[in-house]
Symmetry: C4
Subunit: 197 residues, 4 copies
Amino acid sequence: MRTSRLEAFSDGVLAVIITIMVLELHVPHHATLSALGDSAHGFLTYLLSFVYIGIYWNNHHHMFHIVEHVDGLVLWANLDLLFWLSLLPFTTKWLDGTGFALVPTVLYGLNLLLAAIAYYLLQQAIFRTEGSDSRLRRALGNDLKGKLSPVLYILGIGLSFVSTWLGVAVFSVVAVIWLVPDRRVERYVADQERDVL
Amino acid sequence: MRTSRLEAFSDGVLAVIITIMVLELHVPHHATLSALGDSAHGFLTYLLSFVYIGIYWNNHHHMFHIVEHVDGLVLWANLDLLFWLSLLPFTTKWLDGTGFALVPTVLYGLNLLLAAIAYYLLQQAIFRTEGSDSRLRRALGNDLKGKLSPVLYILGIGLSFVSTWLGVAVFSVVAVIWLVPDRRVERYVADQERDVL
Amino acid sequence: MRTSRLEAFSDGVLAVIITIMVLELHVPHHATLSALGDSAHGFLTYLLSFVYIGIYWNNHHHMFHIVEHVDGLVLWANLDLLFWLSLLPFTTKWLDGTGFALVPTVLYGLNLLLAAIAYYLLQQAIFRTEGSDSRLRRALGNDLKGKLSPVLYILGIGLSFVSTWLGVAVFSVVAVIWLVPDRRVERYVADQERDVL
Amino acid sequence: MRTSRLEAFSDGVLAVIITIMVLELHVPHHATLSALGDSAHGFLTYLLSFVYIGIYWNNHHHMFHIVEHVDGLVLWANLDLLFWLSLLPFTTKWLDGTGFALVPTVLYGLNLLLAAIAYYLLQQAIFRTEGSDSRLRRALGNDLKGKLSPVLYILGIGLSFVSTWLGVAVFSVVAVIWLVPDRRVERYVADQERDVL
């Protein structure tokens, strides 16, 4: 099975998720700066979730760049990832609408954690397809970021019980860590091409 | 006529359907665990419909993998399938909003049944294009799952008159049956490649 | 300029248009058959607009199948077509919400007419790119359907002043005329291939 | 890294943005011409934002037509552009809902300005990838339109303090300037092909 349609469908789903979140942003009731200020809250939450979907698209793009074949299990692992990401507009809206209350903040962190686990399972499904000589496995190396993220999500969820702002701060730090472009796959591809020459 | 644009358009429609359903999920009014619990109902219905769209995308992907040419009739049979699937956000919302009342449960089952019939008609349209030596027909074999599903949908609709939870349970069982990856097409492709060697 | 991205973008826009219309379908307030009956109105309007977007996608697909190069004018003519089609969810919602009142019915007809004109202009823009030996022009032939449709839209708009149901009936007849697959391009491609052999 | 998925994802996001704005168009409460007239306001704002997204898609399409490789920085610069464009439905809705009040008009202008800056940064990121012999840089030439637009946006924002209609008029003039198809890239490609022959 080729990867092109899986990529096209994932692009479509991620494009819709990243865009419909703006429908949840409520326009201020009054045409004043202070009314706009009250929306700043929602704007920042929107930005955080936008960056997260952007990160997942980016990593997904890099990952499937070196994957050649997929089987049924990979298709379902991919749908599982899309499912958790598709809930992000919902959890973002609740987080924002309640002004960072405890339960919504914990739920938002859980959503991020479950998406990270789904991404990990998707990687495992690809490893299985590729066998012992998996190109992706070699490209990822020790995958420090991938291992650190779930730990930080759990830390963020825990700190939310102290202060939800602290929790959201931790979730934002994870986003910033990933914002630094992941050069592992790029480097691997470049290395491979050099080896061939 | 090549299949690429049909696949791209179907990917787009299915990506939008699977994602906009989350817009129908109402965020809880209070920031409490019990308020979230009240939304569990909607969450499960969303999950069921998400899985169904995922199944259709998955099967659609497998089917068009071995189809090479399409004609006008296939294009329209495909749009017919997309039409019934596009109604799923509507019937899901009604099912969820009424707490699994009888008429909405029956309508949800009918929607699934009509989508299954549309998928069957799409297969027939492809067989017609491919002629007597249809690759798809050979790949599908006796198509047990395809024949069983409509029977189970009708059973689920009937059982809804006893208990709507029973009806929804049957619809969920069909989803689980399909969740097991359909290896027929994959096996057929693998067999063909072995025969060539 | 290649046509692939123009087709991909158009596929995306048409996929979103055809799917978001379902968000406008209001779920019945009561979980009864008669409440569902009250929604039948909206269902039929949704079906009509779905078929129209399907027709445009189908014809767009056929048209760009034999077009090889596009220039800036074609890109803008295509966006003009997408603009008028993007208004269809709006005019459909008004038509449905008012129970086929006069002004909304006339506006719906105008929307269809303006989309048809935009499609005609898109064809002209392609003819201009292809020069005197336009493959598309030869494939289209006398284009009876294309010439008849605007006349019927105007007739439908006129008849709406007698009865809006009559107007909607005419708009539905045009849809049915187009539902018959357009074999001109398919035949042309088949002829060309035969000539080569 | 190939550009195809970046283009596909951008096409998807822009297709969703351009289409969901119609969901914000409120249907008139009464089925009369004068009620429709009250919506004319929203229609014109929708048209303006539609044209802007169309312009960005058009320029994006032309730009990536001559770009061959992208790196992580280009992916993120592209997401930055999509972020600002994704806010357009929000700022459009506020602009329209308040009848061109001062703060919303200034915010709309700022949104356009920030999108223009993001587009400029995306160009710079591509130049960096392509090195000193950038094909895109040569194709763009002195980029008069690109340099003029931010100046006009700032002028429009300034004039909004005199009259918001004047501000919106300036924003519309910029759109008209860009509507004239950008032939630079097309000419460059044509020139290159002639040089080869």
